[in-house]
């Protein structure tokens, strides 16, 4: 117990200067260190508990209760926490003075990345409003067939929204056989999307077309 506490504190000291520079929103990444630091602050206020106990322990919040156990160890380490307290308080004061920038929360990161990617793609080629039931014509550049653009026409069976990988599913009867192709809307290979017409549908996904007559999926 004694050795572990001595080992922990140097680590804690090493970590403290980093905390104020980082956004607190990212604190969840380093829960172990952060909780220990926060505990150390609280412990300094109480001045009767210590920071050091097993790293693997999950009951960090209950350190106050365990303070009595390691009261003997606390004597050795109390001198060091005082130094820690000063540095921590100084950093806190500095933080309060600088203007508080809006933090990007972890959960928003993917959304922001997707939006940026979509913006970039929209600059090159704007994507029209496509909904289920539209009959669209897509001009696709196939790397294997570089001479001409392949044209795919058909009814939009479904639209899956997934940021940059938003896809639409086109169905058409080609040469007697039903073919369904999933296209990523923001793909650079797609050179043109045009909505030719619209069919009234009362569904978001038209999977029933697979069981219906081919006539309903034929588009000249």
């Amino acid at each position: 117990m004694a050795t572990s506490s001595h080992l922990l504190l140097p680590q804690a000291l090493h970590m403290i200067p980093r905390i104020p520079s980082k956004n607190l929103g990212v604190s969840s990444l380093i829960p172990s260190v952060n909780s220990r630091i926060s505990l150390s602050r609280v412990s300094l206020n109480h001045s009767s508990s210590n920071v050091g106990f097993a790293i693997g322990s999950r009951k960090r919040r209950e350190f106050i209760a365990k303070a009595e156990e390691s009261s003997t160890v606390g004597e050795d380490t109390e001198a060091v926490p005082e130094d820690v307290a000063e540095t921590v308080e100084d950093n806190e004061v500095e933080e309060a003075k600088t203007p508080w920038k809006p933090r990007t929360k972890l959960g928003d990161v993917m959304g922001i990345l997707n939006q940026k990617a979509i913006e970039v793609s929209e600059k090159v080629r704007p994507v029209p409003e496509i909904r289920t039931g539209d009959i669209v014509e897509i001009k696709l550049e196939v790397p294997e067939n570089r001479r001409r653009l392949s044209i795919y026409k058909g009814i939009v069976m479904s639209r899956q929204n997934a940021g940059i990988h938003t896809t639409i599913r086109i169905r058409r009867i080609i040469a007697g056989i039903g073919v369904e192709i999933v296209f990523p809307l923001y793909s650079p290979n797609i050179k043109e999307i045009k909505v030719v017409s619209h069919r009234k549908v009362r569904r978001a996904r038209l999977y029933y077309l697979r069981d219906k007559l081919p006539r309903l999926s034929t588009f000249k």
Binding site: A162, I177, G178, I181
Partner: protein
């Protein structure tokens, strides 16, 4: 009927071309009730009935071995099939549609390449393609010689099956044939997907 209903498994909507992020995860979880009604199409394996779309003489074959993949064959793979149904004598004998005389009979074992599969095949650009049926183009007949069977089989497969047995291919053919070096089939195709 009960079996058909039972076969309607939940299709994992995470097959969005390999790009699964938080949004796609949300999409798949929220539309759970719709997903459970979709059919999940799987590989072409032993026992699968396939349509023959060339004029080699066979009409329907049954897959007895997939030459690629542990779980089964996909679009573009080669399979070994047994002919279950072949064209009768009454069928077209002359002209462009002519069936190659006596080439493939019922019961013979043939090699075929899958040109249409009900299971979706992902492409490098993130798109997926799937057809409404399973179809195969016959490439060659497997010799039944007992002595040279091992040798014959190795020779055949080494050379690679590039030439279809028939002279015409019906229906749409995907671009995957180019990757599988089935250029003759591509040139014979009515429509390229």
């Amino acid at each position: 009927m009960a079996a058909a209903l039972a076969s309607r498994l939940t299709k994992g909507r995470s097959l969005l071309g390999g790009l699964t992020n938080a949004f796609s995860g949300l999409v798949s979880s929220s539309s759970g009730s719709i997903l459970s009604q979709q059919q999940q199409r799987t590989f072409i394996q032993m026992g699968t009935r396939l349509k023959v779309v060339d004029n080699s003489g066979a009409k329907e074959v049954m897959c007895i071995q997939s030459l690629r993949g542990k779980k089964g064959a996909r679009l573009g793979d080669i399979v070994i099939c047994s002919v279950k149904e072949s064209a009768t004598k009454v069928d077209v004998k002359k002209g462009k549609d002519a069936i190659q005389k006596g080439k493939v009979k019922k019961g013979s074992v043939v090699y075929g390449v899958v040109v249409r599969a009900a299971m979706q095949k992902g492409r490098v650009d993130g798109s997926q393609v799937r057809f409404d049926d399973n179809a195969v183009v016959i490439l060659g007949i497997k010799e039944k010689k007992t002595d040279e069977k091992g040798k014959e089989k190795k020779q055949n497969y080494k050379g690679g099956f590039n030439q279809p047995l028939g002279t015409r291919v019906f229906g749409p053919v995907p671009h995957e044939m180019r990757l599988k070096k089935q250029l003759k089939i591509l040139s014979l195709a009515q429509h390229l997907v």
